[in-house]
Subunit: 668 residues, 2 copies
Amino acid sequence: MAVATQSLEELCINSIRFLAIDAVEKAKSGHPGLPMGAAPMAFVLWDRFMRFNPKNPKWFNRDRFVLSAGHGCMLQYALLYLTGFDSVSLDDIKQFRQWGSMTPGHPENFETPGVEVTTGPLGQGIANAVGLAMAEAHLAARFNKPDCTLVDHYTYVILGDGCNMEGVSGEACSLAGHLGLGKLIALYDDNHISIDGSTDIAFTEDVSKRFEAYGWHVLHVEDGNTDLDSIEKAIEAAKQVTDKPSMIKVTTTIGYGSPNKANTAGVHGAALGTDEVSATRENLGWDNEPFDLPQDVLSHFRKAVDRGAQVEQEWNQLLETYRSSYAEDAAEFERMLSGQLPEGWDRDLPSYTPEDKGMATRKHSQTCLNAIAPNLPELIGGSADLTHSNLTELKCSGNFQKGQYENRNLRFGVREHGMGAICNGIALHSSGLIPYCATFLVFADYMRAAIRLSALSEAGVVYVMTHDSIALGEDGPTHQPVETLASLRAIPNLVVIRPADGNETSGAYQVAVANRKRPTLIALTRQGLPNLAGATAEQVAKGAYILSDCDGTPELILIGTGSEVQLCVAAAEKLTAEGRKVRVVSMPTCELFEEQDEAYRESVLPKAVTKRLVVEAAARFGWERYMGADGDMVSVDRFGASAPGGIIMEKFGYTVDNVLAKAKAVLG
Amino acid sequence: MAVATQSLEELCINSIRFLAIDAVEKAKSGHPGLPMGAAPMAFVLWDRFMRFNPKNPKWFNRDRFVLSAGHGCMLQYALLYLTGFDSVSLDDIKQFRQWGSMTPGHPENFETPGVEVTTGPLGQGIANAVGLAMAEAHLAARFNKPDCTLVDHYTYVILGDGCNMEGVSGEACSLAGHLGLGKLIALYDDNHISIDGSTDIAFTEDVSKRFEAYGWHVLHVEDGNTDLDSIEKAIEAAKQVTDKPSMIKVTTTIGYGSPNKANTAGVHGAALGTDEVSATRENLGWDNEPFDLPQDVLSHFRKAVDRGAQVEQEWNQLLETYRSSYAEDAAEFERMLSGQLPEGWDRDLPSYTPEDKGMATRKHSQTCLNAIAPNLPELIGGSADLTHSNLTELKCSGNFQKGQYENRNLRFGVREHGMGAICNGIALHSSGLIPYCATFLVFADYMRAAIRLSALSEAGVVYVMTHDSIALGEDGPTHQPVETLASLRAIPNLVVIRPADGNETSGAYQVAVANRKRPTLIALTRQGLPNLAGATAEQVAKGAYILSDCDGTPELILIGTGSEVQLCVAAAEKLTAEGRKVRVVSMPTCELFEEQDEAYRESVLPKAVTKRLVVEAAARFGWERYMGADGDMVSVDRFGASAPGGIIMEKFGYTVDNVLAKAKAVLG
């Protein structure tokens, strides 16, 4: 078959296929199968539907595209290159999966403009897409006017069998159905093959029926390999249904065109190999050399550049109209897009004196959220069905529900993992929205894969995690974090803050809201705590600071976090009364302390003072860094127990007497 | 209404309710709502169906009961007490949620005989139940004979809305449907209320339809509050369908009987309060004092004791018959139940010399699995769709599939979280089965909640985690563990082993298989490694050991794990050649090293030698413990990158030259 006999569309689709085939071949690493099979649907979507501007990947009103099956990233790189994004050149494609390239092994939003979210870990992308669609629905409800539809884009996803097997996708899609997110359109690459072979060995459920059960509008394209019109009609039909998200099952052949490897797991995650590449060229009538594309193809795809400029220009005109008719809203909208926080957003954050009534830091958190929410309209979030335990409801708003998307209280249900991934999507909608989400600290484990992706993909999600130690009491060890703080502090680019009282909680929110390029996790108590003399909001940003001190060089430094700082203070008072020289350091966040300069760190924790006692109701793991050569820790190095919180704290040694005894042992 | 007017069954059900109400009231903590609403289905199930022996909770052929909605644990404690288990007395119920009691805040298998698995974190129980049913199916396929059905029990679950919202339950239930586990029967307490209120705010999907999509047999009891016969008929019908798991949606009222709190979130997770308890007593016609039950009720429930003795005796007779007809199988069956490993199970584990060809430790792991599998028939497991990357297939067996349950290769699909929870169920079937499961190390994050429960609930699962560092290369930062090892080492009661070569991999399996009361996680390389002089299988059990040494006291100790030990060896050789006194310590597992006596630990890492360099391609977090006051580490303290593995290792400083330079810097 000669190239000339192929239609332009076939050539376009084969161009996608061979860019993927040849890039993977050159890298000797990657996943050619998905791009080969999904090229037709991707072509139809990007060529006939998607509104975007290749020369301004951040144009606000673009349709969002998420490749949830992120291993097939060559599909996305091919599309970015072909449609004229500056971020991916042909040279970049030749550098697929190489050090420093724009074309890493999975799509990374922080590397490659045009990539919306970071995918690869399966199921995350579709859940991110639910977040993107929620962000769009919210902004549309908030800013659109009867005569001016300023916010109006679709969120398209391509996901595979793997995504559909992952629980996180089920959680997010169930919620998407509940919320009736009509502008979310998912194309399910139904190719029947996963890494282990046919889906017959592990995945024989009726996916369409499941999505119907979630409340989605479900369609099926039986021949996703060649029937472009049916793909087009399905997407068109999906767009017509505005009160439900749509799932289009597109049945395809993985590795389409490879005579010996199509429809096998062999084409999923490895280069085809020289012989099979040749055979595939032959089979698909592709005479071009690697990375050489027909000029017609490039010309056709590159029409996206003019088209994109045009749609953006039209939208800019719309924005002009909006500005003149709705000046205040426009200013607010543009402020949000710029990423600038509103003047005085934190002006109502409370401050406290030691005389003020002590409260649980989760209650302080509630006060903070409700103090900033009226001044920070981009704040949007909620809890995984623990609203009245996490205390995360915004009193100034209602529930974000189908048809009430203007509201800011998100109701995630008992879906922690989906919640985290959805918040990543909201943050990476890059429209200024600041998502927060909440559960018990121990259930960070359920959503850890999403938290890691917040950190990796620079999504400024605020994680509000209450019930932060064994002191939560009766719920027992399944609910009591012990190792959780350590496990979170180990994640790069995540700021973990455990405030000690009301002032530090206010400081935690100042840090968290300001952190727009990294996530912040705030660990909060269930139990009441006193407000501490010397604790301030400002110093939280320094990570650790001297809460109380002695004259001259201390003999001993007591380092506490959160609910245990009060024990350090009380023990220090007794030691001081006994004539010992003791410093108390409150250390709400290790990460920020490490970012301070050497002089500041030395001023708080002088190297010469090696007698230190750390007091935190959590595992010792990781605290050796600050413990000093002669130090110790009052730590929890086993699972917790079920009993009233006060009794547990006593049994585990979190009493002034025990801290005092341990301190004396360190002093020697 | 007077008590006398109630039927005995109503009295039995109200006894469950009031044990829950009064225990929660006394503790001023707990969840009365579920027990009050689910008491009828639980009564019917335990009274009319469940086969168990209260006086021998470990009787092998008992029906398994899992309360997946673990917060409703008073339901289970009430049933255990009422049916005559010795583990839960009336005094124990009065001690609900108190320090040291048998009745902790959520059901814990390691505390309370009669509790099969530890639940509370939602969705885990139903997934554990899938594992229990898989264990039953496997043993039945393996041991039953046409004339002797030795293994024959059901697995019953009560789960709630929360469980059904969690992704882990979807993963496990999809697989259960695929596998056609006919003896798994789940009762879904459809009470329309979760902590945040009506499920209308977040959970409006059609759960029954979803389960049908999974391939389950689905039934509905419309009045689960009073219609005991319909509950009975539904369970009967569920038992009749032997080729599909059954889900019975039982529509109930949470907090049934409470005049002011029933059908509200208020009754979910807090004591009713004195007034409402009185009103509920009045409403349900319950005149008894707290914890005082009608004698008829106790007599009726306690028939379970005789019934249980009888069913166990009948089964013991069956076992006798089996012994005489199938002596060899019987011996094997009983050996497994006893928990004793077969003689010489590890005799074929390979050992290596430095001359043997180096391989990736994942390949050594493959060799080990296949060396022990023929000698260790209780080994059963598989991968979450990465079989040929994790290299976990047992060549001596086929795929565990519907109708082929005798096989030992489990195909989990891309369902890491479900996989972990299923393996917990298999381990806690307590029939001697040793489950293993596999994925990439970084995806431990997806299943962390299950891994934590392995550790907490003493489930001896073997986690086989490959691609254990940035050296995996091109897949990039989404797939490269950095903080993952630290996050896992922080979990109490989990043994994390990172073997350095073939011998240490054999040692890792010796430890993992022997660890029947705690999980073991083995971290394995993608890339090839040399076999090291001095590395032995035996010393893995010590956690860390001297791999190579100098004469006299070392100036410097190089501590390595896994793939980085070779760098330590090479750097030590160069330093030695330069006249420095250097020790190399291989530290495959910190946890086991900490369990050695002080003398051994001092012999390996003498306190006086404070110049130490740790080399591990992972985060520094947690390594300060071993680094020494003057030590350092070659660590990865950012996310990885996409490039060929060798280049990444070089760029991140994992070269002999860089280790040497760092070592010299430490030496000063």
